[in-house]
Each structure stands twice: as C-alpha cells, then as structure tokens.
C-alpha cells in the first residue's frame, strides 16, 4: 500500500488522482440517487429551500450538538451525494420540540446556525413535514386501548379521535415527530415524510 508513503506527486499523478476522485463521487451520486426515492429529507425547523440548503450548509454539526432532544442526525448518501452529512430530523432518536417542550420558542439549531442554512422564524410558520399512519400496525386499529400519539401530540387538532382510533389531519400536523417517538407499537405504524414542508426562500 503506497497511499501514505510520502509519494512524490508529479503533474501526471495529480491529474490522475483528481479524475479518480471525480469518478468515485460521480458513481456514489448516481448510486445514491438511483437508490433513494425522490422525497426530500425532513430538515430542522427554519431551513431554506432544498437546492440552496446543500450549498449553504457547511456541515459543522452545531445544530446536532445544541439539539436538546437529539432529534437531529446527519444524513448519509440516502438523499444524494450533495446532501451527504447534512442535518435531518430523525424522530426515532427524539422528537423535535420546537412547538412545545424543551425547545419551545427557542429553536436552538436555527439560532446557532452560522451560515443561514437554518433561519430563525416564528413557531407557527414552521411545518417540517407530515406524519402518515399505516393502519395495519396501529395498536388502536388492531383493537388495543392505545392513544399515546394523541396524548402526546403538542398541536391542538392535529390528531383527533374517532371511535377510539386516531385520525391524522394533514393540514394541522407540523411534522415534529412526537407521536412517532412516543408510539409503543413495534414496528412503528407512523412515518414522517417531508410532504407539505414549508421551507424558506433564500433570495427573499
């Protein structure tokens, strides 16, 4: 192995390395975009539009460190090579409590973002995405006395109860993922997608 052996770099080998790197990144990009769906990732509150987000984000990881619930994690190549190592909301690790809870009215990730990929906006303007219910796995639809999602939901009217079963209202849902985190069913019947997410326009 001669990678780190202090090899003298001449012009020829420099160009060769460049081309090798470009080919590898190109292959990764192709493989990741081919594998992933066309969905946008669920971003932390106050994020700019997806095409500018990847440019503005410098992958410093400050949002990850200041998050009090651990809801933010770094993405891999699942949203394309351009979105690698950018912050995404993973509600399985923790709920995003921007609406009510430890981060209420604070939005520490948006406040501490050094490049403006996350902007600080009001609590009511945020919509991270929408939660979808798969009735097949839902405990209430299977006949158990479970309504944990509606108990823990911070947004009034986002989850209503009809005949002891939860009903998710797409328009009210802010996509914080509290219901998903609290859900005791295994496998999880809920899925958080970026459908209907409200993102900030960069040039305004």
């Amino acid at each position: 192995m001669k990678i780190f052996s202090g090899e003298k770099i001449v012009r020829r080998s420099f160009i060769k390395h460049l081309v090798e790197g470009a080919i590898i990144i190109g292959c990764l990009n192709f493989a990741s975009t081919a594998a992933s769906s066309s969905n946008e990732p669920v971003r932390p509150p106050g994020s700019v539009e997806e095409k500018y987000f990847n440019l503005l984000c410098v992958r410093c990881g400050i949002c990850l460190q200041v998050c009090p619930t651990g809801a933010i994690s770094l993405s891999g190549f699942e949203y394309g090579a351009r979105a690698a190592n950018t912050p995404v909301i993973n509600p399985l690790c923790g709920p995003c409590e921007f609406y009510r809870g430890r981060c209420e009215g604070e939005m520490r990730c948006s406040r501490r973002c050094p490049t403006g990929a996350l902007r600080q906006i009001g609590r009511d303007e945020v919509k991270l995405g929408t939660v979808h219910l798969n009735k097949e796995y839902c405990l209430a639809h299977r006949g158990f006395e479970c309504m944990v999602c509606a108990e823990m939901c911070p947004v009034p009217g986002a989850i209503t109860v009809q005949e002891r079963k939860p009903v998710f209202n797409k328009d009210e849902c802010v996509g914080c993922g509290t219901c998903l985190y609290a859900c005791p069913a295994e496998p999880k019947p809920l899925q958080l997608t970026s459908e209907g997410a409200r993102r900030i326009k960069w040039f305004v």
């Binding site: 192995m1 990678i3 809870g101 209430a140 006395e145 479970c146 109860v161 509290t178």
Partner: protein
Amino acid sequence: MLFTRYKINRRDYVKYVGISALAGALGMFLGRFKGWRSDNPSPSAIETPTQIQPRKPSRIGESVVSIVRLDSDDEIERVVRKSLDAIGGLGKLVSPGKRVLVKPAVLTSDKYCAPDPRVVAAVVKLAREVGGEVTVAESSGRGSSTAYNLSHVGIKSAAEEAGAEVKSLDDEKPIRVEVPSSVSLREVLVYPTVLNSDVLISVPRLKRHISTTVTISLKNMMGTIPNSEKGRFHTLDLSQSIADLNTVIRPNLSIIDGTSAMVRTGPTGGDMVKSKIIIASEDPVAADRVASWKLQEIEDEVGVSPHHRFDAANIRHILASGELGVGNCNLESIRII
C-alpha cells in the same frame, strides 16, 4: 496506484486465505457461547424478582371520601387541610421520619395537564408538618423530559419552596417486581424510589382520557414505571394492566385536584372548567369512582356534546381494580363527606 505494484504469489495467497478462514471459524465457534454475547447477560446479572406484599386497604368495609368546595384560589392550602382532616388527617398515615412520596401527574409540559402547583405545595407542607421526609417524583410520558416538565409547570419551584426534594425518576434504574394477581401482567419494572417510600400520595388532576375514559389516581400510577413499561401496557390490556399495577403500588392517599377539571377529551387538549373541588381519600378506587361521578356531573353542567359523554359507573380500570381488592368501587360502601 492502489491496486498495482503489489506482487503476491500463490503460496502467500493460500496462506492468507487459510489464516482468515481459521480466524472466521474461531469467531463462529466462540460465538456459540452465550456468555460472550452482550445481549445475553450472565445469569448472575439478572435480578431476581422482588416479592413485596401488596398494600391492602386498611379498612375493607367502608371507604371514606371527602369532597370539599373551595371558593377562591387563595385558600387552596386551607381546603386541602380541611379535606384531609375530614378523612382522619395525615397524622394517621405519616409519622416522623417516614419517607413520603408525592406523585403528581405531569404528562407533558402543558400546565393544564398537571395538577395545580399550589395543591402539590400544600400537600408537601402538610406532610412535613407531621414530620415526613417528602419527595416529589414523577416520570413523564415518553418523548418529553420529566425534569423540564416539572420546572415548566411550576411544580418544581413550588414544592422546593415547601421543603420537598424534587426528583425525575427517569435517571434511576428500575427494579423488577412480581405482580401477585397477574391477570394481565406477570411482572413489572418499577422505580426504586417508589418502592422504598413508606407513604405514597397520588396527586392527579381531574381529567378525561381518550383511551381509559378518565385519568385520576389509579392511572396516575403509570408514572412510577419506566417508559418501556408504559409502552408495553398499551400493547397489553391497558385497563387491566393499570389495575394489576395498583395491586403492587397502591397509593396510600389520593388527593385529587379538581380546582379546574379537563372535560370533553384529555389528557391534553381538553376544555378546562372551573369546578372548584378537592377530593381526598385513602382508597384510590373509591376516590376515582367518586371523582369520575363528579366529573360526569361537571360535564352535564357544562353541556358536553353527547358524542363525548361517558358513563362513570362503567369505567373498566376502576371496576377491574375493585375486583382485585385494591379498594371499593361500589358507591353503596363509600361514605362521602
């Protein structure tokens, strides 16, 4: 560069393949022993279930429930004292040096969901007057931080002012406890602070609940078990599990904060009604039975839509607790003061 100029001959190749095959075989062989795996702890590490005596009611014959009206919010402490005196006073339960655990019902950081901090502070103060060492402890719902919730709804500052230690149970290591009745549960994990306390006081708010109809002192005991167990209860029969849990950790005293009650739906997002009552009893089942009956009356007064109505005589976890001998659920054997 990477894959060129490194010459390997047949002899070396066979050698390396042989070594790696041997290493893999050794790993698979060692993996057969369960002791080597981290997910199977050795038998000595598994705790033996703690056998504790179920806390039977002091008097099985008749349960006494006191309902006291309060006229203004300033006299909460006086009214709590009056309601406790009506059922015999705290001095009967708490003697000097006893460890008293006050368990408020704090599900989320919503302050309407939790009992009034002044009620908790009044209970703490009264328990300290008779010489108890008071701890206020709670484990909130999964997905919210107990320490944050307790300080956000104001119970932390109020209880510390009254001289209690405020604890979040989430940091503790739960103990496995056998459930003798075992209708729905065989064993349950409970936090040690709850098991080590001498007197357990349940301080819930009078509230509706979407899955168990009401959440008062019996349902409040769901906050003494870890989050994983709360989730497991929902995958079992929830009402029966609450009843089973209450045979193991039965609150010695229930003081229900009805200064304002949550009607229509709950435990979060319901409508608040100024009901202005404090209900106290040594029998949690009797207290819940009377309180749910009161809650039904309040709903009738306010005029909740018939879709959200409930039947106070037919709440499953209260009836199941009554059957298991936690307390009296029959209104005829409950004396209301």
